[in-house]
């Protein structure tokens, strides 16, 4: 099967004849077996849209490429004739004489033939209208049993955006999100990533759009400000700062950058906030009772404190299950080197999730609350962390990074299909994104050293 598949690509023009004899074979090497193949030829732009259309095209391609829900058919196998709008398409199946040469692109059924083999086709174009960028995007199924073009059309939409680069990128995200929504994808539009950067000289809290655009500084304390987390309603970032001398918790509005009231316990350390699903309560680590840092629960302003753990060992990085709100994981030294533990909201029913080998840290729940991503040194030197995902019920783990530097602080995207993380390849760390299966890794930051990313839900 693999050999045949590779031949298709090697033999090109003749290859498709060979493949035709094996018509049940999907002709492309696919990244996500079993997922649909989608062809989206580049849109073209007229007038003022002409110079912006490449930003739209690359955004669509990048979003689709990085989704584990589909396979994007490489543009190299597309026909020369590209339909640009619904009226360019011809329904029905071409007579065999017409199919003897390379398929013509205007016939919808042509896109389902080798070497394209697409199950779906996305087409469209961009134009300027009244000072705005307008993109017309259609999406069709190439399934052969569709009685008419109308019934083959999955959607046809108009995307209006500002007539500049930002608008083109934004429209691209929306079109790609609409396509992915057909296959269970949740849109990431409006989600953000909070992270720590030292690019202005000291560690400060930063925020950017989920695709890495519009990076801006939220704090400018010229101290050490780090360990951010975000409320599930997408409004508040909590972090730890030395601005007042000791490591203490601070809360900010992500939108306005304003400080929100928070009462810090009198302790040598208050840090690592996790929010309940309703964004009203938090759990954090504090040394307020002396000894090792323990977990405490409080209101979002630090009031109504009560203690959860009394392990005598270090207890940090509590993460409340975002789905249930009834259980949490944390990192504890109660059996030696740091491991990930699971417990209920009273700190009871404690169970170690990780095997006890190496160091396991930085747990992060997926939105469905049944998997955690975490950083683990298993099989590596101390400090050489890689990202793993664990099915919490079965404790089965999957390794997502290897031999790509030190990888830490994974965080799930709200779509449950992407993971953001920090990768240190050389002297500086950068923020990277990958699919939740470990494919499609790409960096979002370049300037300075960037770490501790947290994916923030779109504001509710």
């Amino acid at each position: 099967m693999r050999i045949l598949t590779v031949s298709v690509l090697l033999f090109g023009a003749f290859g498709w004849l060979l493949a035709k004899q094996q018509s049940q074979i999907q002709g492309n090497i696919v990244a996500h077996p079993g997922k649909p193949l989608i062809a989206v030829p580049d849109f073209r732009g007229s007038g003022a849209a002409a110079s912006l259309i490449s930003a739209f095209n690359s955004t669509v391609a990048s979003d689709l490429q990085s989704s584990p829900l589909i396979n994007l058919v490489p543009k190299t196998v597309y026909p020369l004739q590209i339909p640009q709008q619904a009226s360019d398409l011809i329904g029905g199946v071409a007579p065999p004489s017409a199919r003897a040469v390379n398929p013509q692109g205007n016939r919808l059924s042509d896109w389902s033939l080798p070497p394209i083999n697409a199950n779906y086709l996305g087409i469209g174009y961009g134009a300027e209208n009244k000072g705005m960028l307008v993109l017309f995007g259609w999406f069709y199924t190439t399934a052969p049993n569709m009685p008419s073009l109308q019934q083959a059309q999955v959607f046809g939409k108009v995307y209006t955006a500002s007539l500049d680069q930002t608008g083109a990128v934004d429209a691209g995200h929306r079109y790609a999100a609409d396509i992915l929504a057909q296959f269970g994808g949740k849109s990431l539009v409006g989600t953000r990533i909070v992270f720590v950067s030292d690019r202005t000289g000291s560690k400060e809290i930063w925020v950017m759009n989920w695709d890495g655009t519009e990076q801006r500084e939220l704090t400018h304390y010229r101290s050490i400000s780090t360990f951010p987390s975000a409320s599930p309603d997408g409004r508040t970032v909590a972090f730890t700062t030395y601005a007042a001398g000791y490591p203490a918790i601070q809360m900010l509005s992500i939108d306005t950058g304003r400080k929100l009231p928070f009462y810090n316990q009198r302790a040598s350390m208050n840090a690592f906030v996790t929010f309940t699903p309703d964004s009203k309560n938090i759990i954090f680590s504090s040394t307020l009772a002396g000894g090792s840092a323990q977990l405490y629960m409080a209101g979002v302003n630090g009031s109504s404190l009560h203690r959860l753990t009394s392990s005598g060992a270090i207890e940090v990085e509590a993460k409340i299950n975002p789905k249930t709100g009834a259980d949490l994981v944390d990192v504890s030294g109660r059996t030696g080197l740091p491991q990930i533990y699971h417990m209920n909201m009273e700190g009871a029913d404690v169970e170690r999730l990780t095997a006890g080998t190496g160091e396991a840290t930085n747990p992060a729940w997926n939105p469905d609350g049944d998997h955690i991503a975490f950083a683990w040194t298993r099989g590596f030197e101390p400090g050489n962390y890689n990202i793993f995902v664990m099915d919490v019920a079965s404790k089965q783990t999957t390794q997502l990074t290897a031999n790509e530097g030190r990888n830490e602080n994974p965080g799930w995207a709200p779509d449950g299909a992407h993971i953001v993380y920090a990768s240190k390849r050389g002297r500086q760390s950068q923020i990277w994104v990958m699919n939740a299966d470990g494919t499609g890794k790409h960096p979002l930051t370049q300037a300075g050293s960037n770490e501790k990313p947290v994916w923030v839900n779109a504001e509710q």
Partner: protein
């Protein structure tokens, strides 16, 4: 009551007698009453003239307050000049000064005086010639870092001599300057997670403080803070560098 009625009765009888006499002979009109002799003019009165406070340090203000009645002009010397009968004035004498108030009116002159005593603080003691090392010198040179094993916060047996030397040096510091506070900083190497290391550095600082207190260093002179792995001494990926970074370090508390 009874006495008043008696008085009234007597006065009425006397008036009757006088009235009866008038009818008896025509008397010349009485001379005009004499011109009232002008009353002797009253001398001005100085109700008070005070300085509050009456003892100040050089450079501090004092407040003169006064009240005069019956005067046309009121003057205070020492450059203050004519003032209103009731008033106050802030003064900044640089040496002990007696202020005289002169009130002049038709009836004469009244005076009062008040003295502000100015104490000049002595100059600071000449800077002590450095006889020996300062507390900062001792802190920097004699109080050595305590080092830790990986993921551990207990003082290693082999470090007891260093700890004892640190305790001695710290006691010397606090005997030289009873206001001096020392910060015990807990640090970690770069290998563990930043999160776990923040809590581990806290343990290292606390364990070091506890061990020093056990050796007689006053607990209230030592504060602790963890920097986790945020302030490494070195950044090489070598065991030697890791070992240097796993430390409790001593600095002057702000």
């Amino acid at each position: 009551m009874r006495r008043r009625r008696l008085t009234l009765t007597l006065s009425s009888a006397l008036m009757l007698v006088v009235a009866a006499g008038c009818h008896k002979k025509a008397a010349p009109p009485p001379p005009p009453p004499p011109q009232a002799a002008p009353p002797p003019a009253a001398k001005p009165v100085v109700n008070f003239f005070t300085a509050e406070p009456d003892t100040i340090n050089n450079g501090q203000p004092s407040s003169l307050r006064w009240s005069v009645t019956g005067a046309n002009t009121v003057e205070v010397d020492n450059g203050i000049g004519q003032v209103s009968p009731d008033g106050r004035r802030a003064v900044y004498p640089t040496s002990t000064t007696t202020y005289n108030l002169t009130a002049t009116g038709p009836g004469g002159t009244a005076t009062a005086s008040t003295t502000i005593t100015v104490s000049t603080p002595p100059p600071p003691q000449p800077a002590p010639q450095p006889q020996g090392p300062t507390v900062q010198d001792i802190l920097a040179k004699q109080v050595q870092d305590i080092h830790f094993d990986y993921d551990k916060s207990d003082i290693r047996a082999g470090d007891q001599p260093v700890l004892q030397a640190d305790a001695n040096a710290l006691k010397q510091i606090f005997s030289m300057d009873s206001n001096f506070i020392v910060m015990v900083e807990g640090h970690c190497d770069e290998r563990g997670s930043a999160e776990y290391n923040l809590a581990l550095g806290d343990r290292r600082a606390a364990a070091t403080k506890d061990a020093l207190v056990a050796l007689g260093v006053p607990a209230d002179k030592l504060k602790t803070i963890s920097y986790g792995k945020e302030r490494p001494l070195c950044t090489d990926a070598t065991e030697e560098c890791y070992a240097r970074n796993r430390r409790a370090h001593f600095s002057a508390a702000q």
